[in-house]
């Protein structure tokens, strides 16, 4: 038993190290003074300063934030009622609708990007910031639906019955009973959707119009034009901000 413990702990430790070492390396070397090599040449905030002065980069960051905020709002506005509707739906209809909502989650991202690109071209909707928002809302919607439903399923259906038995209207029941109970799940889902939108590369890559460059697109083009310590700094910013958002989301869900 003891032998198995050590063996298991070893593999698990290695697995964790495998997951985290690259990220740690990235952050550490974003503070390296050297321009060229991967050898450590002293501590410096220099590359973060360089980022801060890059106008195009700041514009991309602004784009990313706008897209994430708008697509997340859309996903929540459409997803919360949809999740509640799905919970009330019975029979085979529910399974079919379930499948439709889950489709964007299981579709390969490349396929999603290509399909949206083709669709926008066919309906003559010029690629722009708006097409990116629409695309992101399409894959964020199922995230909200799944997470809110998980919460709704845990709720006692008699709570709503009790509310209406006590004379609450449908809207009052939602506002006074259901909403306070699902709010943590909605906030958690919104934060995750926001994070995923911020991080998305592939769908954005296919449907972004001119002027709709996001941070990941910017990082990608920087990587493609050669590695530089600036990318390390930018990557560290992205990593740390997604970790912060995930942390927030977990805190909301725990409550």
């Amino acid at each position: 038993m003891r032998g198995q413990g050590i063996w298991l702990r070893g593999i698990s430790g290695l697995g964790m190290a495998f997951l985290y070492l690259p990220i740690i390396v990235l952050v550490v070397f974003s503070l390296n003074a050297s321009r060229l090599s991967a050898a450590w040449q002293g501590f410096s905030w220099h590359w973060y300063g360089v980022l801060w002065q890059d106008e195009a980069l700041l514009a991309a960051a602004a784009n990313s934030l706008w897209i994430a905020a708008l697509s997340t709002s859309l996903a929540v506005l459409l997803g919360l009622p949809a999740a509640m509707g799905l919970e009330r739906l019975k029979g085979h209809g529910r399974q079919v609708v379930d499948m439709i909502f889950l489709l964007p989650l299981v579709l390969p991202e490349v396929m999603m990007g290509v399909a949206l690109l083709l669709f926008f071209v066919v309906i003559h909707w010029p690629l722009s910031l708006a097409t990116v928002v629409v695309g992101h809302a399409a894959f964020n919607l199922p995230i909200v639906v799944v997470m809110v439903r998980a919460r709704l399923q845990k709720l006692d259906p008699r709570l709503e019955e009790a509310a209406s038995d006590l004379g609450a209207s449908a809207w009052q029941t939602f506002y006074r009973v259901t909403w306070p109970l699902v709010r943590p799940a909605v906030l958690g889902a919104a934060l995750l959707a926001f994070t995923i939108s911020l991080d998305d590369f592939i769908v954005t890559f296919f449907v972004a119009g001119p002027g709709a460059t996001t941070l990941p697109l910017k990082v990608y083009s920087m990587i493609k034009s050669g590695l530089s310590p600036e990318i390390n700094a930018l990557s560290s910013v992205l990593v740390l901000s997604s970790m912060g958002l995930v942390g927030l989301s977990l805190i909301f869900q725990r409550r």
Binding site: G15, A138, F201
Partner: protein, 297 residues
Amino acid sequence: MNHSPPSIASSPSGRSCSKSSGLLLPGLLWTTVFCLLPIAVVLAVSLATRGTYGGVLWEFSLDNYRDLLHPLYGRIFGQSLLLAGAATGLCLVLGFPLAYYIARLPPRRQALWLVLIMIPFWTNFLVRTYAWMFILRTEGLLNTVLIQLHLISAPLDLLYSNQAVLLGLVYGYLPFMVLPLYAAIERIDPALIEAAWDLYADRWSLFRRVLIPLTKPGIVAGCVLVFIPSLGAYLTPDLLGGARSMMVGNLIQHEYLVARDWPLGSALSIVLMLIVMSSLLWYFAAQPPQARERGEP
């Protein structure tokens, strides 16, 4: 279940039905327009013909699918399946002990480890892939360290290879394997493991005769969750792979944005989607019947 006469049941159930469809409609419409419809367009284009200058001619033809039989495409599909399969296998081998270890920790530490597993999963994928470029490239961290330690005299060619792609896929999707496996292992009554042990099972028998059958739904879920994104991977082969490490995702992107052969790219997408859907069927078949029937009234 309480079966009330239809005459009584009809009016309230009818009302709740219309209410639920009112709530559902906007979201359903959105998903239909921006997911189902686009897929339908891809299907339609995959059955059309390529125009001379790259556009789409709406003439029905199966030529695009016939073209996919070309050995070049076959090789890329084969390579994608191989890499995705290998990544799935490696994730399973690494993920099972990890998930088992977490599931046997005390509850508070379980929660901590799970969060640690989930954080990379929500961290920018592009950036995480880039981290491996930084480590593996010729002037990268690993080569630098190895040379300074005098373990090698000349840098190794680590990046731009199938191995690097495999590494990137395993790295990227390991959390997808660990989480469902954890959920499945955590559900096992610890007494069952003790029972096997009490009944003279050694470690291997315990694993093969008890753990694997009991966690099969989780294993299948994990495999499907790793296999699907691995098969459709774009960034990993694009950034870590060499000239010969192209996968289906890159091929699709190439046909669309470089070769501008939309019908062929669409046919490729449809085939990719079909493979994904069939692996999903396997997933549903492996889930326990109660979970499948839960949606029934």
